[in-house]
Symmetry: C2
Subunit: 325 residues, 2 copies
């Protein structure tokens, strides 16, 4: 089996269904040429997924393709941006056609769904690694940021937390899977749904927004550090799925709630609003679960209060690639 | 030695001297927020360098940092774009402070020089790999492309060819280094000078432009394929440096000229112009050597004519990551 880099790109990466008017020149030159609409600012995010670090080596390639773009779409959601263009840098041990076909399928399934066009990229040989950069738009001056939380704000999260972390812990052999719901957990780990429409809905409502990639404690930590405020979380209010709930006794109360608070990869949004904005919030997020889990205050640091009144110290404040070296 | 990802970014990657007015929000949120000037189109390029593939494992980190941004600046030059913003995704086996300091130095030396601000990125643990994405501007409709060469055009290259390929061949033990000029060759391999001002000078003069990253034969091949034309090169006209010239006998005539034509990493520009534009070209590129090496014609394919009238078939049409697997 022999394939040139050029053929590889043509066969597997020039196959997206999206063809945007603002792409003047797409794949195939030294650079893409793109037109940002008048009155809009450009939002750019970049994320790399490395085999064995961000996903287990045996992850199916369709899920890798899906997730590589999903994590960047989640960043767009957290900025309140409308996604538009992607670039992809793919490092592969070998040009395996079945792998490439499945990867491409996962990638474009999600890209097409969110009207994202792949406009350029780079492929080379080496240890498996995927870098996606995404470009989107916000109205000038309206990007949602993490440094704008205010004392008195209520803290919300979309969806439920902990499913992806639980799935990973089971895959790593830390817990045995219960018969019911394991497929759901895997889906949550491998196929997170980017909260794009929710991010767009938060304009003019939310003060600070972040996506939960490293775990609630860690990512809310970024909000309070950037905003120079503190936060109190109520463990009993953390929203979890019925499947996650079913592991409560298996895992043990404290480890279980810590998993919901500390584990990453859920790609839900965490945001803060003025208490008076709750009515407006209900109108803006009609189709998704969202839950008030605490409040922003003036004291520094993050406190997590258990239902018995004790404070939980999260086992980890989220995944850090270089900590404890 | 322990460092968090956050500290690592602050210490080594929030240290550039450039602070651009069009960066609304830089490093530190889920995405950067950027303002493309009115009347300009955005040009985007992305390139990954993998240790052991794009550079020998023992390359000094300062050169890796330099080259990671240099190869993308070269793409900007080939598009006739003015560079503006960079993002960086860095995968590292470990957080080695000496390595990071040197890498950062090499990266920002060049970024600062070309008024490029690092606006975002990602760091993680894994096999050493560097992905840089660069963003620049062109006036609306004026990007320099590779699909616009016309029959009758003269083909030019900037600078000299073959130095980087020769340096790499010596490093790989294929040839012994001559005493004189080896430092110069290494400099050409590790520290290519992006031809940004030359790219900007080619607006309104050049028909088609590409940068020579994979070798002249390969990259000119992209021009003729995209433009649906053919080309004739004259081997005797290929510009080479005095150091490269000194290897002529050591390497042997045909292998030597093939190296100038086929080896990559020179990051010079190859472009085509109407013969009537030669006077204008002299005004536009006052400070650099540039050489007419052939012409575009209507027959398909690339021919390279030797000084004795025979045709040279290049040993390789440039580096391809997946060919011959």
């Amino acid at each position: 089996m022999s394939i040139t880099e050029f053929d590889l790109i043509k066969r597997y990466f020039a196959v997206g269904k999206v063809s945007r008017n603002d792409v003047i020149l797409g794949i195939g030159d030294d650079g893409a040429v793109l037109q940002v609409p008048h009155g809009k600012e450009l939002v750019v995010s970049i994320d790399t997924l490395v085999a064995g670090i961000h996903f287990p080596e045996d992850t199916d390639p369709e899920s890798i393709g899906y997730k590589a773009i999903a994590v960047n779409l989640s960043d767009m959601a957290a900025m309140g941006a409308e996604p538009a263009w992607a670039t992809l840098s793919l490092t592969l041990p070998e040009a395996d056609h079945n792998w490439l076909r499945a990867f491409s399928q996962g990638f474009f399934d999600l890209a097409d769904q969110f009207n994202v066009q792949l406009v350029g990229g780079d492929t080379c040989r080496g240890p498996l690694s995927v870098t996606v950069q995404l470009h989107g738009f916000v109205n000038t001056g309206e990007a949602l940021r993490r440094d704008t939380a205010r004392p008195g704000d209520l803290i919300y999260v979309t969806g439920t937390l902990g499913d992806a972390g639980l799935a990973l812990a089971i895959k790593q052999g830390k817990f045995a899977a219960l018969q019911k719901g394991y497929e759901y957990l895997l889906q949550r780990l491998d196929r997170p749904v980017p909260r794009i429409s929710e991010g767009l809905g938060l304009h003019g409502v939310a003060h600070a927004v972040i996506d939960i990639s490293d775990g609630l404690a860690s990512d809310l930590g970024h909000i309070i550090e950037a905003s120079h405020v503190g936060a109190t979380l109520y463990a009993g209010k953390i929203p979890v799925s019925p499947v996650f709930e079913s592991y409560r006794k298996v895992i043990g109360e404290n480890t279980w709630i810590d998993m919901a608070i500390s584990s990453g990869d859920d790609y839900e949004l965490c945001f803060t609003i003025n208490p008076e904005s709750q009515d407006m919030l209900h109108k803006r997020l009609p189709n998704i679960r969202y839950t008030n889990i605490g409040e922003i205050n003036t004291s520094s640091g993050l406190r997590c209060v258990l239902e018995n009144g004790y404070e939980l110290v999260p086992a980890s404040s989220g995944y850090d690639h270089f900590r404890g070296q």
